[in-house]
């Protein structure tokens, strides 16, 4: 085993050890594990007809009972089962959009920090532009132009939420750029790509991971908001889409709390869990930033 692989393994073990010591971080991790298990097992546990409008078994807006623990919706489907399916969609959209956002953010951040001159200034300019433009109006406009579908929702959220990451990664890249090992590598004739991929990226990577976890939280909130406004796939019952249907079917004025309360609780729990895990990771990776 090479020295660098050995070092990487030992630092990973150290990270796992410190994370286990962090009580709030572990709480978040346990909550996440439960939701991820629900998302994976949903197709096995839930029969297809549970989501089919034509085969709904219950009455309209039934309050919670033994056969429908969370009551029924406006066409008589079990809210509990729809909620479990929603976990799958909300988490998928959240993770996929975060991946897009992280790839764009990290690429822009490293390039803006590594290069000098007009190109770098242009990258910083684009990043600033995305930071300033209000998220929801921009997302609404993009989603309207692209049309409502789950894939478009992922793309819209991905390209509207990377700017914060890019700024953070750029700052970190700038501090790494001044280190002696990069100077050595430049003196030995390393190209730009080699420097960025072999020296800068591995060094900013822990921070990228911590930031990713925090971004997932924001992205899931964004997904809920956009789906609530009807900008997602109307057929996919994500948590936001459930709230949209509850709202437009009049569940609020009927006082049907069992339709509105559970999706929101799920969003709060998942967002909180990602935030707790992300903050715990940040505390371990970069103790200066955590105060």
């Amino acid at each position: 085993m090479s020295i660098s692989a050995q070092r990487r393994r030992s630092s990973l073990a150290q990270f796992a050890h410190s994370f286990r010591q962090d009580r709030t971080g572990m709480t978040g991790l346990v909550i996440l594990a439960i939701f991820i298990a629900t998302a994976i097992l949903a197709p096995i546990l839930i029969p297809d007809e549970a989501l089919d409008v034509t085969k709904a078994g219950g009455g309209r807006f039934e309050s919670p009972s033994f056969s429908y623990p969370l009551g029924t919706d406006e066409v008589g489907r079990s809210i509990l089962l729809m909620l479990a399916w929603g976990t799958r969609i909300s988490l998928t959209v959240g993770l996929a959009a975060t991946l897009i956002s992280m790839v764009i953010g990290t690429t822009f951040g490293i390039m803006a920090g590594h290069f000098r001159g007009v190109g770098s200034q242009a990258l910083v300019g684009v990043t600033d532009w995305f930071l300033v433009i209000p998220f929801l109006p921009l997302a609404i406009v993009l989603a309207t132009v692209l049309g409502p579908s789950t894939l478009n929702l992922i793309i819209v959220i991905g390209i509207t939420s990377w700017a914060g990451t890019a700024r953070l990664i750029r700052a970190q890249t700038l501090s790494i750029e001044g280190r002696p090992y990069l100077e050595r590598s430049k003196a030995l004739g390393a190209g730009n790509w080699y420097q960025m991929s072999r020296h800068v990226l591995p060094n900013v990577f822990p921070l990228v991971l911590a930031n990713t976890t925090l971004t997932v939280a924001i992205v899931i909130l964004s997904e809920t908001t956009l789906s609530f406004l009807g900008l997602g796939d109307p057929g996919a019952p994500s948590w936001g889409a459930l709230l949209d249907r509850a709202f437009s079917s009049g569940a609020v004025s009927r006082g049907a709390w069992w339709y509105v309360l559970p999706p929101g609780i799920c969003v709060v729990l998942v967002v909180l869990a990602f935030t707790l895990v992300g903050r715990a990771m940040e505390r371990i990776v970069d103790p200066r930033r955590a105060s």
């Binding site: 300019g125 600033d128 433009i133 109006p137 921009l138 609404i140 909130l221 969003v267 909180l272 935030t275």
Partner: protein, 313 residues
């Protein structure tokens, strides 16, 4: 200053080209189901069939002059935005004012004794509020306080800005508006104050490490005095600028919360526009929100320069 102008220019250009990418026939959409003078339609079609560059130059001459009226309301879009501005200003103004007062107060109490009981409880609750979709909180407040669930009588109206038929210019009308304002405003205050309290807390914790506080204590000042006279004024600066910087976030809350409470402001107008979709209206709203946020950011930057001498050098 220059940066704000460049950002503004980008918004204006982006606004033009993005909506030109839309597939479909905007004129057909506009004329559907209404008696429209055919000659006027030909005129409109000619305007939109001009070369893109020429259209762009016409647009640049006056970005606020849309060639087409709102497709849904058949009225000039900027006139509608002007009408809807006041309810939004009332709602957001009240919410931001209350949220900053309460948020800063919580932040001071929590940040002065970090790790204490108040800090643990308030930081925990602000984190939960921070993770909450604002429109969901609004819906829950409606169910509990307006819809009569859980045996609580409906104390507040389910939506709107005033009861139909009430003259809003009379003192009774104001009270009626105030009564309608309670729930949407509470929702927004709870969501916004989380952000303000977290920032006030962390900037006060940063100030606590500064040497001038040790000096103030060495002079024999009481703890409350050290806090009020020395630490808080310095810690306020990041929080006050944040209130301006967070306008983009404020706008998000306005759109969804106004929708939930059918508050007839710009947020509800956005929702109505995107349900169409009413492209000319959406375009104008996007331009308006972006300009508002850019101006607020500029104000935040200027405030920093005015109040923090360290930035000036």
């Amino acid at each position: 200053m220059l940066r704000a102008f460049i950002t503004l220019a980008f918004v204006v250009i982006f606004n033009f080209f993005l909506f030109r990418m839309l597939p479909g026939d905007p004129i057909g959409l506009y004329a559907r189901g209404r008696n429209q003078d055919p000659e006027q339609l030909v005129e409109l079609r000619r305007a939109l069939n001009k070369p893109l560059l020429e259209q762009f130059l016409t647009y640049l001459r006056n970005p606020f002059d849309s060639t087409i009226d709102s497709t849904r309301f058949s009225r000039p879009v900027w006139e509608m935005i002007g009408e809807r501005l006041w309810p939004t200003l009332l709602l957001l103004g009240t919410a931001i004012l209350l949220a900053s007062i309460i948020g800063i107060w919580i932040g001071i109490r929590a940040g002065w004794k970090p790790g204490g009981r108040f800090d643990r409880i308030s930081t925990g609750s602000t984190l939960i509020l921070y993770s909450m979709p604002e429109f969901w909180l609004g819906m829950m407040l409606l169910i509990v306080f307006a819809a009569g669930a859980f045996g609580i009588p409906g104390m507040f109206p389910v939506g709107g800005i005033s009861t139909p038929g009430v003259d809003t210019s009379s003192p009774m009308g104001w009270l009626n508006v105030l009564w309608h304002l309670v729930l949407p405003c509470t929702t927004l205050v709870l969501i916004y104050l989380a952000d303000y309290a977290l920032v006030m807390r962390s900037s006060l914790i940063d100030e606590r490490k500064q040497e001038y506080l040790t000096l103030a204590r060495a002079k024999g000042l009481r703890d409350a005095m050290v806090r009020k006279r020395h630490a808080v004024p310095n810690a306020l600066l990041p929080t006050v600028t944040l209130i301006f910087l967070s306008l983009g976030f404020v706008v998000t809350g306005a759109i969804t919360v106004e929708t939930v409470f059918s508050w007839p402001g710009l947020g509800l107008l956005t929702y109505e526009a995107l349900r169409g979709p009413d492209i000319p209206l959406l375009q104008a709203i996007f331009l308006m929100f972006s300009i508002a946020v850019i101006v607020a950011n500029l104000i935040a930057e200027l405030l920093y320069v005015v109040f923090d001498p360290r930035v000036r050098s």
